[in-house]
């Protein structure tokens, strides 16, 4: 039986929109669908039972009597101190949740390049939903001004600051982290006592940087782990067994090369 790997990294298009609603700027509405655009991992594995190869499921187990607890018998607890919890009912939490308004509300337009990427979290592709014209107008005007719309969106249970910007002929929405989710480097003791570099050293460092300057190209960086796993999957599908090899450290590679050379010589003797 011929099987294809389920995932093809570069050609992945999500089947269903992740969210649909409208971008609103003042009184203007642009109906859009949101698709997932970034993927954390190329491969995800499922846990199986070693003996019979069946998938395993997670269950919630009570720490006191090891009884399996069904979903409807659970509540949320906030641990105030070790093993002391404040209990919340589902209804209490739901009431505090932001209203999901199906809207991406844009408050103002900012210079896209002025925003530090530290804040960027996840990106989503926006596709036009029914109306092509409004979408195209918004996209083209952002491209022309090199601006990004700043605003907010509610996804599931959380409200995020977002940026709406043009990327490769599409509108892309990037959720941002809140200021409190990012630590301030000024709080690190080690950074408070930095010395001024010597001018001579600085000149040399600047020269090195200038010499090594170039255009950034993400395709120059390859994920070797994912590449290896991909090959292993292809082999397994063809029915080949895989011999586990210990990873060779960089420093051992030279030794391996020398070993190969010596083994070749010894063969000739």
């Amino acid at each position: 039986m011929e099987e294809e790997p389920m995932e093809e990294a570069n050609a992945r298009i999500p089947k269903r929109p992740f969210w649909s609603g409208a971008v609103t700027i003042g009184l203007v509405n642009v109906p859009v669908k949101l698709y997932t655009m970034t993927f954390d991992k190329a491969f995800s594995f499922r846990f199986l039972h070693k003996q019979d190869g069946q998938p395993l499921k997670y269950q919630k187990v009570c720490v006191r009597d090891n009884a399996v607890v069904p979903w409807e018998d659970t509540v949320r607890g906030y641990e105030v101190s070790k093993n002391r919890f404040i209990v919340f009912q589902k209804e209490e939490l739901d009431a505090a949740r932001p209203q999901s308004s199906q809207k991406i509300r844009i408050d103002k337009f900012v210079d896209y390049l002025s925003i530090d990427p530290i804040y960027f979290e996840r990106s989503y592709v926006l596709a036009p939903d029914k109306s092509n014209e409004a979408y195209s107008l918004l996209l083209t005007s952002l491209q022309k001004t090199h601006k990004a719309g700043a605003g907010r969106i509610t996804l599931r249970t959380k409200e995020y600051p977002v940026l709406l910007h043009a990327y490769k002929g599409a509108l892309v929405l990037t959720t941002l982290r809140y200021a409190y989710e990012i630590s301030d480097p000024n709080n690190f003791e080690e950074l408070k006592r930095l010395m001024e570099p010597e001018k001579k050293e600085l000149d040399l460092a600047v020269k090195i940087i200038n010499d090594l300057s170039g255009e950034f190209d993400i395709t120059e960086y390859e994920d070797t782990y994912e590449e290896r796993i991909r090959k292993l999957i292809a082999k397994k599908l063809k029915g080949e067994t895989i011999v586990a090899e210990k990873p060779v450290k960089e420093e051992a590679k030279e030794l391996m090369a020398a070993l190969q050379e010596t083994l070749n010589q010894l063969k000739k003797q």
Binding site: E254, L259, Q265, L266, Q269
Partner: protein, 285 residues
């Protein structure tokens, strides 16, 4: 490619010249094609420096506790230790690499093989200078020895000891006992001592400053000599380097044969040595 799992490759074993364990292993891998032939079936004694040559090292006659099962072992009762010693025998690349990974910097081998342990197949002349003697005097003594051996119809092979001296070897048929080979070497030493004011042939006079001692006592049961291409535990990572006799001349500097200097060497000045089994037929005087 190897059964050995490398450990602590970054460990500096020769601090003065910043040589790490990875380079030591590299050295033994590179030299293996020229070492394994002569090491074959010979018990070896290790000198290990796990923390580098500037820290304490130790001799190890008995196999280390961690010796893997695939390493060949030679059991021999030792008269001095009054017990059985398990010697390591280095018959393959894996064993050599394993020894290097143990930081066994110096490998010393016996002059006989395990299948006929009482009959040496090598005769060694250890040309060993006392301080204040220059290298040129050592070279003179070695060349005199070579000439004398040629008079006796013996072809000889020379290497640096890795320290100050030279080792001159004569491979022989396994027909003589250690008592016989030792006596033969001693006779030649005495002959040279008569001919040269610098050479001494007796152990009792060997520490006399300004002399070159021809040590014959190594030709004894169970005694070892540092094997060719072995590193030494010297600050500059010197090697016991086999030489072409044509290169043994005034100006020879044995201290120049360091790990990094010999890394590119490919020639084998001892080519054919293992097959060159000779008889000690002519009498010395």
């Amino acid at each position: 490619m190897t059964k050995v799992e490398f450990t602590n490759l970054d460990k500096v074993l020769y601090p003065e010249v910043r040589v790490k364990k990875a380079q030591v292993i590299q050295h033994y891998i590179r030299m293996a094609p020229r070492m394994l032939g002569i090491l074959k079936n010979r018990p070896i004694v290790l000198t290990r420096f796990p923390d580098g040559v500037d820290k304490e090292g130790f001799y190890e006659k008995d196999m280390p506790l961690s010796t893997p099962s695939w390493v060949k072992i030679f059991k021999k009762h030792s008269e001095t230790a009054k017990r059985e010693i398990n010697y390591v025998v280095c018959n393959d690349l894996d064993t050599l690499v394993w020894l290097a990974n143990l930081a066994a910097l110096e490998l010393h081998m016996t002059l006989s093989k395990i299948d006929e342990f009482e009959k040496p197949d090598l005769v060694v002349f250890d040309v060993d200078p006392e301080p204040s003697v220059g290298m040129d005097d050592v070279v003179d003594a070695a060349l005199m020895l070579k000439e004398k051996l040629e008079d006796l119809d013996l072809r000889s092979y020379v290497k640096t000891s890795g320290k100050k001296g030279l080792h001159i070897l004569v491979p022989i048929v396994r027909e003589y006992t250690f008592n016989q080979t030792r006596e033969y070497v001693h006779q030649i030493g005495r002959y040279l001592a008569r001919e040269s004011p610098v050479v001494v042939s007796e152990f009792s006079r060997s520490k006399k400053p300004g002399t070159v001692y021809i040590d014959y006592l190594q030709n004894s049961h169970g005694r070892t000599m540092v094997c060719p291409y072995s590193l030494r535990a010297t600050p500059r990572a010197t090697v016991s380097m086999p030489l072409d006799w044509r290169d043994v001349k005034k100006g020879l500097k044995p201290e120049e044969f360091t790990l990094s200097a010999v890394a590119k060497s490919e020639s084998n000045p001892w080519k054919g040595m293992l097959e060159d089994k000779q008889k000690l037929e002519k009498s010395v005087d």
